[in-house]
Each structure stands twice: as structure tokens, then as C-alpha cells.
Symmetry: C2
Subunit: 239 residues, 2 copies
DNA sequence: GCTGGTCGACTTGTATGCAAGGATTCCGAA
DNA sequence: TTCGGAATCCTTGCATACAAGTCGACCAGC
């Protein structure tokens, strides 16, 4: 492998903008690539990752690849056993339930805080809702998923605790894989939009209790599909 | 630097048990060492870390050190600017406030859940409380700090959501540095014990509202000292 | 004295080579 | 046929060499 600092042919379009200042490191690019692949279940749970093979596929050496893997281990997305192998972590419903607890309570608290803000601006949320409906019509699940994230992030922004959303990101990856698996079901998608609408309505009305109930239902939806998905993809789960 | 796979002289006793199976990797050891040093403010905020120097001090090569640093970057404890340098992140009170929000709400929710458990066992908590009082008498702040962690972890255990505590760990590091700085103040320590006692009492009595109030006060205590600590250690803070 | 430019010492980023250990496979013997 | 053992392949872990960039100091010219 010759030195290819800026390969003209770069496998995989890079959606992320990248920090402007330091030209994005190879390590970072690899990390984004792998994390995205794992979240979208393009790299399915249980898939084994060979460092040498991956390095060759991504046209990088093992060093930056290993640093990316170290970060993925830190977030619990992959596990590496020293002289045995590296694999994408299986989905543990128990862990997902823990993540659900965290998300439900934080989002509930953020919602309550947001309701107290007299200057809260709902228009952005409405726009995202409309956007989501469009994505459903054209069956663009990935865009729908991204908009879903944006909507919840916005609620945290309004609450004044955007950091809480950021903090949840690594943990949420586990939840996201399950949600991504359950997305092909049309009923699920419609239900999600309905709940989103209800949440935004409650926020506009300042209805704390009602909104919390919707958030609670929203957060538990993914987990409800858990057993069915486990039956459908038995190899993706453990315990 | 000769190959020293298992150095006989290992700087710094390692409290963590370590996964039994794979003999702890050098990278892991380095990570624990650095993370602990940063949390205890032995490596103060703003300290610059030279990879070559650090590697020499720790008797390892740059490779495992860099992997440890990559993980520390992932948790936001250090920042590295490509051709400039690596430094321990300064304390941002804004970030600490975000962490406070997360901790207060999660702990509050866990407490409420724990109160519902009829079989909740308080004896362990009482034991930790007694332990903490002993540590105060002998002025062992680090042990006091560790016991503090153990107590809160136990509450999450009782609630049935130990994972929520685990999930908070990386974020809590930021909060911990502030708490560690405010620990030398005797009033602070006594206040902490008092609040702990009140929380445990409330848990025993099943007093959800009372307990939540104490937890709220407890979580905000560290932040209250923020401005004073910022005045005392101006170089440790930013923004 | 001040300013501009160049050189050098330092930083991190990447590639590669080798070492150590586990797992599988294949062959031989019972 | 079955069981045992050894060798080989494949895995990750670590160390080192080199590349690229940034910052600062020093010196020359104005």
C-alpha cells in the first residue's frame, strides 16, 4: 500500500462536513464511516471485522483504523478480544432497556423544561414534521431517521440543555440499531409521526403532563418491537 | 525502549479489577492511568501532554498511548490539535451544568423507581455511609470520593437500572473534576454526608418526593461551588 | 529599534515490521 | 473410526521509522 494521503478515488461518499480547521484525519473519517455503517446495520451485529481486511478495503493502514476501533470500543459498539478477533457487538435487549430508561427520563425532563420557556419557537419543529411526512411518501428511511434525530435534538435545544442530547449519543447508538431495524414496518413509521405531532402539539400548548405521556409512549415503542425483531433476526441478539 | 511486556515495576497501583479473561492490555492500563490522573486533577485542566514524553514516562511506545488518548478524546477529557499539541480539556461550567441536568434527572428517576421496590435492601447503603464517616475522620479524600461513587451506584443497582449509572460515567468525569476540587472544604464534605443520610433515610421510608428534593440539592451542590472555584483556580476554567 | 524571513525544533499522523497467542486443520496412531 | 497432537494460519498488540505541519526563535536588512 503506497502512501495515499488524499486518495482520488475515495470509497464511500462522506456526508459529514468535517471540522474546518484541522483537515479531517484519516482516523476520524474511518470512525465516522464505521459508526455510520454499524448504526444503519449495514455492518450487522455479530459481523467480524478483520483489521487487515478492513484496512485494505478502506485504503488506510492499520494504525488509524485501530484508533477508530478503539473509539468504537469505548462507545460499546464493537468488542475486541486480543488474539481472537474484533466483532460488532450484538444487541442486548437488556442494554437497550437501560438506554430507554435514560432517554425517556432525560427527554421527559427536557420537555418539561422547554414548556417553561415562554419564548419557545415551535415553527422549526413543524417544519421537521412536514419534512418527515415527505420522506415517508418517498420511502426514504434514512432521511426519515435523520429528521427524527433532528426533531428530538431541537427539543433539547429549546429546553436549554443541548448537551444532554449530545451526552446521550453514544448510548443511543444501541437504541438506534433497534429502531432502524423496526423502521421498515409502515405502521411503526406512521405511529412515530403521530406521536411526534402529539409531542409538538403538547409543547406548543405547554401541556407538560400530556407531553410526558406521549414521550413515554414514544420511547417505549422501539423496545416493544424488540421481541418480534429478535424472532426475525435471531443472530443479531444475545441474552 | 526494550520490549517490556509485563513490567515488574508498575507505576501506580491499579484499583480496577480488570476483565479477567484477556490479560489487561497496555493500552487499557495507560487509559486507566490517565483517566484517573485527570479525574483526580493530578493532571490539571490545561496541562499539555506530549506523546513522546508521556510514552517515555509510562515506559510504553506511542502506539498504545495514542489509542488511550483517542479514547480520552472520545469522552471529551482531552483535546488534540493535529500538528500543535494535546492538552487536558479545561472545565467549562456550561458543560458541567449540562451534566448536572443529566445526573439530577436520572438519579431522581432511579430513586423513584427504587422506592417502588418492596424488597429494597438498605443495609449496604448504611455500611457505605459509616465507611464514609470513617474516611472523613482520617482525611482520606480519595477514599471518600470512591465511597461516594459506590453509594450512588448502589442506588441505581437497587432501581434495576445499573446501566444508567454506567452510561453516565464518561459524562460524569467533568462533574467529578469540579467535585474533586471542592472536596478539600470541610463544610462541603459534612454537607455531602448529611445529604447522603437524608437520601438513604428517604429511600428506606419510601418517601419519593422528599428523596428527590435531597437528590436535587445534592446534585446542585458541586455546581454552587463553581464560581468560587473558578476564582480560586482561574487557569482551570474557560468561558 | 523594528520588521520580515528563514531555519530549526517540536508537535501529531501514518505506515510498516515483528512478536505473541489462539483456533483450526490436518495427519498419524490407536 | 476416533482421538490426540503438532504445525500452520490468522488474529490483535506493540514498537519504531518516517512524513507533514506548526510554532517560535534567531538573524539579517531596513
Amino acid at each position: 500500500m503506497k502512501n495515499e494521503r488524499t486518495p482520488t478515488v475515495n470509497a464511500g461518499a462522506l456526508a459529514s462536513v468535517g471540522r474546518s480547521r484541522p483537515r479531517q484525519r484519516t482516523s476520524d473519517r474511518v470512525y465516522e464511516e464505521l459508526a455510520s455503517a454499524i448504526r444503519n446495520v449495514r455492518l450487522p451485529p455479530g459481523a467480524s471485522l478483520s483489521e487487515t481486511d478492513l484496512a485494505e478495503q478502506l485504503h488506510v493502514s492499520r494504525t488509524p483504523l485501530r484508533e477508530a476501533i478503539a473509539r468504537l470500543v469505548e462507545t460499546g459498539l464493537v468488542s475486541v478480544v486480543p488474539q481472537v478477533g474484533t466483532r460488532v457487538e450484538l444487541i442486548r435487549l437488556h442494554d437497550v432497556e437501560q438506554a430507554r430508561f435514560v432517554r425517556e427520563n432525560l427527554e421527559s425532563a427536557a420537555f418539561a423544561t422547554a414548556c417553561e420557556k415562554p419564548e419557545r419557537d415551535i415553527s422549526g419543529l413543524r417544519a421537521i414534521l412536514a419534512e418527515q411526512r415527505r420522506y415517508v411518501e418517498v420511502h426514504d428511511l434514512d432521511a426519515f431517521f435523520a429528521a427524527d434525530e433532528a426533531l428530538h435534538a431541537r427539543i433539547f435545544n429549546i429546553s436549554g440543555y443541548p448537551g444532554a442530547w449530545q451526552i446521550m449519543q453514544p448510548m443511543k447508538m444501541h437504541l438506534d440499531r433497534l429502531r432502524r431495524l423496526s423502521l421498515p414496518d409502515p405502521d411503526t413509521v406512521l405511529g412515530l409521526i403521530e406521536e411526534h405531532t402529539a409531542i409538538v402539539d403538547a409543547l406548543e400548548a405547554g401541556d407538560v403532563l400530556g407531553g410526558r405521556a406521549h414521550i413515554r409512549r414514544h420511547a417505549r415503542r422501539a423496545l416493544d418491537n424488540g421481541p418480534a425483531l429478535q424472532a426475525q433476526y435471531p443472530g443479531y441478539f444475545t441474552e
